[in-house]
């Protein structure tokens, strides 16, 4: 690709410095920029400021790029959207002819029958929906980032008022952030002829001010609670928490509604100015329609640029315009039409003419008195509305006056406004207002600022110098489509249609028509929609009001909201050892754990026959101490701990007040007031918070410290486990000194260790906890000492099989939010007769009233393996339970599992069916544990 050009639909488009994509395309002769959403009507450059949806194009892999505010860069690959095969010739434009079949809300009434056609309908709708294409194979190289700032005063809007406010607040001593959507400060003044240099001094001061931070090219799209304002700047999301918010967002233009107002060639003044600045004439013959004095200067600029201005229609009655400018224009053969508006635009795929007509006293065009003119550009000037979205989101209340202009009624705390957004018209007044508001904001932020004396300066009410042109529907004009919402292809007549269907409130009209729900988010259509709604329902504008303002103010890419891809992973201290042993990894919550090092069945056999070693550092661990620690344990856990002697460990289950199992683990007593509590890997956060809540609530002296990452832990299990340990420690490991469920502290392999004799996997086992720094050292020492006994490391999968063979449940896999401890077959761990513990009353009632479901062990004689989560069926085939665990047991040579079955008349079925993989599996209930029921191996 040569320097200074990009590609558009296969054409080469040259670039000049300062071009946006849209301007470069316009210079190259492109006039149709997109096709509308529903009717596929041709659309051209309209707003020029990135607010409408007309110039959305695909740039490289990115859809929906606003071409009019995106700088043109060499080498870009720009393509059109939503037209096939080309923008010039779009076959789906037939929708425009068939629009009588596609009225608003047609999708609520069609695509219903015949129901068998639904897959076809879905395919058609999917292809027709949306704009642009997402390339699923593309991996974005952009890095989306989030920035967080705190500041005294945030000024949104870098026009005259915003600049003045930012400088005044900063000079007073406040920390200020100024954000503006353009790439340099100045606001709309940057585009006023002759005013370009006016803000050079102020911009320089802003850039050098020690207390001002500038975010240029940043759109404030949402105001959230607590003074949080969200800004979108390129690929960054900036969250600013400000003490005081100053909104100086000014005004934006929007199109007048009249038949065929969406033809390419109808443009707003801002688009024309941007074209002229880059040396591009918008056309050859222009008609300018203005509602205030803006149109006159614009007509002069156009004329100066060589465009023949055929006519200037001024909505204001004769005598309001400046006489000298009028003379100037007449000298250039511009026909003046005071008190006139526009009836329609003529043309098929581009403007070829305009029809102007006088306005009556209410601002309505009289179509019968139209004057037809030939032209190829129609410019709408002076039709603006304040950008109040951010103020409304912040809680300020507005009401509409009789012209539809939003007027601030109540300010929200910590929110200020200044400039054209409030209706302040002259630049001098805007600057003065900005200075005053900036100082007030600084004072409100706590900066000592001398209070203003004297009254608020009288603000010239600029809006009375403009005359609104009422929207003209196609029906009123005798034909044609007057597009109200260009994004969603809603015509002005559709509003009356919606009201006639019964949607007679502004909020209902919005939702039924989807007007203002497109990319412009109501900025192009909101005001006219309100006027049409008021007219159709017979209410005043004030009574109609505006729909609720919510973020975002304009569309924001999902990547910006998501931020950088962060995938925190927790690793155990022995991670490198597992990596080196070629472990197959699995995710257990945020932890990376080894699923297996080879064949899990081999690992199971090793544990049952010899000895195995598993890294269980992920277990939650709490160091619990205090005078009332035992009271806390008695209260929170269902088991009895008051009689737990020092040097013993006991299984512990915690329930909530409804008797539902929350978590399980172990409690070891290491001293008179010192306990070591373990929880499940995923339950530690919940248990820590639960224990702390009960401590806070009771005021007991019990302190729990989360030591999960302080200690590494392993489980050494198997008939030879004692032999392995004996090689590494002088501790007395005999069954007499360290019996089953004993706890001892000592030195193993030179490392201080806590040994707990418990058996999750059902063999002679030692769960060892030691400082995490020694994880690898201990792992190495154990494997080395165990080599002669045939030790094998085993992973989570083998552990799952081993524990299932013993019928041990896993909380949150075999239990859920509706299963109580009694139903989970753990009555032995539940001492209903002890003093009040959490869940006791519910469990007592359950024990009396009867259980509704039970967790049972089962086997599948025929040998099929059901999936965990498969449903248990009753005789009629209805689901009545589910399988929570299932495995092929290498030790027993059978398929075993755990399942929830309903209890009827105090009994569960002895056989049941499982729906699995489209078929049925027959299962038989058998008592657990499946392996070593008397537990002799564990207790050896």
């Amino acid at each position: 690709m040569s320097d200074g050009a990009f590609r558009f639909d296969g054409r080469t488009i040259p670039i000049r410095a300062g071009d946006t994509i849209a301007i470069a395309l316009y210079r190259a002769g492109v006039r149709i920029f997109s096709r509308s959403f529903k009717y596929h009507r041709p659309r051209g450059l309209l707003c020029g400021t990135g607010r409408c949806a007309n110039c959305l194009m695909q740039v490289g892999p990115t859809p929906n790029v606003r071409a009019c505010v995106t700088p043109a860069e060499p080498g870009l690959d720009v393509r059109h959207q939503n037209a096939w095969p080309t923008l010039e010739l779009d076959l789906l434009a037939v929708n425009d002819r068939l629009s009588f079949l596609l009225p608003p809300g047609f999708y609520y009434k069609t695509f219903i029958r015949p129901r068998s056609f639904w897959p076809l309908y879905e395919g058609v709708l999917r292809r027709a929906a949306g704009l642009g294409r997402i390339d699923l194979a593309h991996r974005p190289e952009e890095r989306y980032d989030k920035i967080h700032r705190h500041t005294d005063v945030l000024v949104v809007g870098g026009g005259p008022a915003g600049i003045a406010a930012a400088l005044a607040a900063a000079d007073a001593g406040a920390d200020v952030i100024l954000a503006d959507e353009q790439d340099a400060p100045g606001g709309h003044m940057r585009w006023e002829p002759g005013a370009a240099g006016a803000f050079a001094g102020a911009s320089e001061r802003l850039a050098r001010h020690p207390r001002v931070e500038l975010f240029m090219g940043a759109v404030a799209f949402g105001a959230y609670e607590g003074g949080l304002i969200a800004l979108h700047q390129g690929t960054r999301l900036i969250g600013v928490r400000c003490h005081e918010l100053v909104v100086a967002t000014g005004r934006h233009e929007y199109p007048v509604v009249f038949p065929e107002n969406d033809l390419p060639g109808v443009m707003l003044a801002a688009a024309v100015r941007r074209l002229l600045r880059q040396g591009v004439a918008p056309g050859g013959r222009a008609v300018v329609v203005t509602t205030g004095s803006e149109g006159y200067a614009l007509a002069a600029e156009l004329s100066h640029a060589g465009v023949q201005v055929v006519a200037l229609a001024d909505a204001r009655p004769p005598g309001e315009g400046s006489a000298s400018v009028a003379e100037l224009l007449r000298a250039r053969q511009v026909a003046l039409f005071p008190g006139h508006g526009i009836v329609r635009a003529r043309g098929r795929r581009h403007v070829s003419g305009a029809v102007l007509a006088p306005l009556d006293a209410a601002g309505r065009v009289q179509p019968s008195e139209g004057v037809s003119l030939a032209c190829d550009v129609i410019v709408i000037a002076g039709v603006t509305t304040p950008e109040v979205a951010l103020l409304r989101q912040s809680g300020c209340a507005f009401e509409l006056d009789e012209t539809g202009e939003p007027r601030l009624r109540t300010k929200a705390p910590h929110v200020h406004a200044a400039g054209a957004v409030l209706g302040t018209a002259s630049v001098g007044d805007q600057i003065a207002e900005g200075e005053r508001v900036g100082r007030a904001a600084a004072r409100a932020a706590g900066i000592p600022v001398v209070a203003e004396s004297g009254a608020e300066p009288r603000r010239a009410n600029g809006r009375s110098t403009h005359r609104t042109i009422a929207p003209l529907t196609g029906a009123q004009a005798g034909g044609g489509k007057a597009i109200l919402c260009t994004c969603e292809d809603i015509t002005a007549d559709d509003v009356a249609y919606a009201v006639a269907e019964g949607f007679d409130h502004a909020e209902l009209v919005k939702r039924y028509l989807t007007v203002s729900m497109g990319p412009c988010q109501g900025r192009m259509c909101g005001r006219a929609a309100g006027e049409l709604c008021a007219a159709a329902t017979g209410r005043t504008l004030a009574a109609t009001g505006a729909t609720t303002a919510r973020p975002p103010v304009q569309s924001v890419p999902l990547g910006v909201l998501a931020g950088r891809r962060l995938e925190p992973v927790q690793r155990t201290p022995m991670h490198q050892r597992h990596e080196h042993a070629a472990a197959v990894w699995m995710d257990a919550g945020a932890w990376r754990r080894p699923r297996a090092y080879g064949d899990p069945a081999e690992e199971v056999r090793a544990v049952r026959e010899r000895v195995g070693l598993i890294d269980v550092s992920t277990l939650g661990k709490l160091d619990l101490q205090g005078r009332d620690a035992v009271r806390l344990l008695e209260r929170v856990y269902t088991n009895r701990f008051a009689n737990l002697p020092v040097g013993r460990v006991r299984y512990a289950v915690a329930c909530d007040d409804a008797g539902i199992v929350l978590d399980d683990g172990t409690v070891a007593r290491l001293g008179p007031e010192r306990y070591f509590v373990t929880t499940t890997t995923s339950g530690i956060t919940q248990m820590e918070s639960w224990l702390r809540w009960w401590t806070e609530g009771t005021g007991w002296c019990a302190h729990a410290v989360n030591v999960t990452s302080t200690y590494a832990a392993v489980n050494l299990a198997g008939p030879r486990a004692r032999d392995v340990l004996a090689r590494l420690t002088t501790l007395d490991l005999s069954p007499a000194a360290l019996p089953y469920l004993g706890a001892a502290e000592g030195v193993v392999a030179g490392i201080r260790t806590l040994l707990l004799r418990i058996g999750f996997v059902g063999e002679l086992g030692f769960e060892m906890h030691f400082p995490a720094d020694y994880g690898e050292a201990m792992w190495d020492a154990l494997l080395e000492a165990g080599a002669e006994f045939g030790i094998r490391p085993f992973g989570v999968e083998a552990q799952r099989v081993l524990r299932l063979e013993k019928g041990h449940l896993i909380v949150t896999q075999d239990t859920d939010a509706l299963t109580s401890i009694l139903e989970a077959d753990m009555a032995w761990a539940c001492k209903l007769d002890k003093e009040d513990f959490i869940g006791q009353s519910a469990l007592r009632r359950l024990a009396d009233g009867g259980l509704r479901q039970r967790l049972v062990g089962f086997e599948v004689p025929a040998g099929q393996l059901p999936n965990e989560g498969d449903q248990v069926l009753d005789k009629r085939g209805s689901p009545v339970g589910r399988v929570t665990s299932a495995r092929r047991s290498p030790t027993l040579g059978r398929v075993i599992g755990l399942a929830w079955l309903p209890v009827e008349n105090g009994l569960t079925a002895e056989e049941f069916s499982i729906r699995s993989d489209g078929g049925t599996v027959q299962a038989m209930v058998i008592a657990t544990p499946f392996y070593d029921p008397s537990g002799t191996r564990m207790r050896s």
Partner: protein, 105 residues
């Protein structure tokens, strides 16, 4: 998007997503109440639109549980404090639920 600031009595104002919500403050009934009263304690909430006294846990901070009086409509936390252990509890703000502190767990 919830983004309001919650003043932790220990750490000061922090973003609300540093905390876990612990529910409305409720008196825990004694074990011998009727099943429906127990059910109400488990599942019934006043769910006020206005000031509410509630528990919060500073999970990404100091790890302490504390009480807050928050307006559920505007999300302004009017007051936060530790659960009172001795003496008279702070008088509840206008509109907040009045409780028998001694009956708390």
């Amino acid at each position: 998007m919830m983004s309001f600031l919650l003043p932790c009595p220990n750490c000061g104002p922090r973003r609300v997503d540093e905390f876990s919500y612990g529910g409305e403050l409720q008196a825990r009934p004694s074990a011998d109440v009727s099943p429906s009263a127990w059910g109400h304690y488990l599942y019934g909430r006043r769910n006020a639109a206005g000031l509410q006294t509630e528990w919060w846990y500073h999970r990404l901070g100091c790890g302490r549980w504390f009480l807050a009086e928050r307006d559920t409509v505007t999300n302004e936390a009017q007051r936060t404090y530790w659960r009172p252990t001795a003496g008279d509890p702070p008088a509840p703000l206008q509109g907040a639920k009045v409780l028998d502190w001694r009956a708390l767990p």
